[in-house]
Symmetry: C2
Subunit: 333 residues, 2 copies
């Protein structure tokens, strides 16, 4: 059996994975990239206004452009529609990326039999949505409980809905819902919303939007479909909103389980990286984008981090050592 | 006098400055951005193939798109065609950015009388080209000594030329020159070229290109125009190439002098930053892109760093403290 040993296996097809793939191919590194889909979590955005260089484009457009740019490179093997379930290091120091499942697995990987072997791994697997973990959330999932306002807003025409979460994704969900819903409540656990001011102002000025601060959801009520959301305020008082929909926008969980046995992670599951090189605690494994400890999760930040990672992998392959940061010499020395 | 106090003054109009400006405006921060031109050093690139999301675009196109995206934001004051010569901190802790010179200064700033006052400063002023510092370089500047192959290649039709520098910019200059020059020599001080393999292979395969490794330029010869380039090899032997042009591509000098009195810098003049937040050693001053200590100088990396900086400035304005990176709890605790 003639097994291919890649220089690097990139896991992910969002802005981080794609940026890394493009740079790796241009560096003539022998590269495999595994991803279920392209575009990352922005795929479901109706309109992105902060992808630098484009005034506005849809998540689908961004995904398509990333995919097209990546596929214009030669010398990169793209394994699409599949998922890496675990990365292991063998006794020879090579990494084995196990394929299993995904949205369109080959027969071999569905059986768990296929692996990608590489000298280095770049984990750019992003994150997934966090859930509330309260009664009714699972039961009414798809029956009023929703996780994507862009996708589902039109289903709530003329009905009152609640959005849970005071970050950008919560605020943007409110904006997406206002053209459809008769009323939109925004519930935020804290007192200060954490998204863009420009969006907050738009919401605050809208007659059909109400912001409820200091509110913790406790239960989603319903019969066949959602009928209400009960929440608790800081003073212990509870109240129930009559709503037909609850949009959950309470953050993300890093997709880092696949390297849990290899690298150090935070309490929240982010892969701990050195932010100058994107190296993890495991030699040979780099991480970039939403799966890593970067402070802010943004498409352009992910792309930049991943390029840094690939250039650092390239340096490491070629024995290039970059000098550590040294202070300026004091004057006169 | 009603002086505007900005939340942030962004210095620079390359990918870093523009990305920061867009994010600052969207965060409704009171923002000033000062730049002579848009697009940064890529402005002179004939074709950029690694701006993520675009298979290919010219430096001019990228500059135009950055400018257009920035100017589509409301609530940002753009001071164009001018240069910040120094940043000082006043006794009240505010920063004064002194305007002086630039390609199109107003009368007031030409006199050195105009300042921008801000609570925070993001230095995204990039870098400029390094020179060889050998005899003949200044004398024949514009008479055969050139710093931009994209710009000047057509002037050397049918003539032999030399490119000095074995990084990406040197390699790309060779590619730019080959359609015009009768012969292109690439001189590199070291033994291993440091640019993209794909470009190196293209050059190595071209009959009109010759790579000379271990070569240190010592003098540029000429009469009215350049006639030759003398270099020394590692063993001390010298040789002279008969060339009509010498393209200098030996790296960059960070444009960090304007904050020399405020922040810590490296031997090379890069502003030392914390790579998770882009903070400098001076509270209230952030830096991003080619002027800072990032390992790799790439457009997408600069954009990402600058977005991190702006979001960190925003956090700092609003008293938001992000948790430090904490390790995962050991199993069983």
């Amino acid at each position: 059996m003639n097994e291919t040993i890649y220089d690097v296996c990139i896991i992910g097809g969002g802005p981080a994975g794609v940026a890394g793939g493009i740079y790796a191919a241009r560096k003539r590194m022998r590269t495999a990239l595994v991803t279920e889909t392209f575009g990352g979590q922005s795929l479901v955005s109706a309109e992105i206004q902060n992808w630098i260089g484009d005034i506005a484009l849809s998540g689908l457009d961004l995904a398509k452009r990333l995919e097209t740019h990546l596929k214009a490179q030669s010398g990169i093997d793209i394994i699409e529609g599949e998922r890496v379930t675990a990365v292991l290091r063998d006794s020879g120091g090579l990494f084995r990326c196990l394929l299993g499942g995904g949205i369109a697995p080959t027969e071999a990987s569905a059986k768990g039999g296929r692996t990608i072997t590489a000298r280095a791994v770049l984990v750019a697997s992003g994150s997934r949505r966090r859930r509330l973990g309260i009664p009714g959330e699972d039961r009414y999932d798809g029956k009023g409980v929703a996780f994507c306002a862009t996708c589902d807003a039109p289903l709530f025409g003329g009905k009152p809905v609640a959005v849970v979460g005071g970050g950008n994704s919560g605020l943007e969900s409110v904006v997406d819902l206002l053209p459809y819903a008769s009323k939109v409540y925004l519930l935020h656990r804290g007192q200060v919303l954490k998204g863009d001011k420009v969006t907050e102002e738009k919401i605050a000025a809208h007659p059909n939007a109400t912001i409820i601060r200091g509110a913790t959801p406790v239960e989603i009520l319903g019969d066949a479909f959602v009928t209400g959301l009960t929440y608790r305020l800081a003073d212990g008082a509870t109240a129930t909103l009559d709503v037909a929909g609850v949009f959950v926008e309470v953050g993300s969980i890093p997709n880092s389980e696949l390297v849990a046995s290899l690298v150090e992670r935070t309490h929240w599951g982010e892969i701990i990286v050195d932010h100058r090189t994107q190296r993890t605690s495991c030699e040979g494994v780099w991480a970039a984008g939403d799966v890593a400890t970067g402070l802010y999760k943004q498409n352009n930040i992910s792309a930049g981090e991943s390029i840094t990672a690939i250039l650092n992998i390239y340096d490491s392959m070629h024995g290039i050592v970059r000098p550590a940061v040294a202070r300026e010499k004091p004057p006169g020395t």
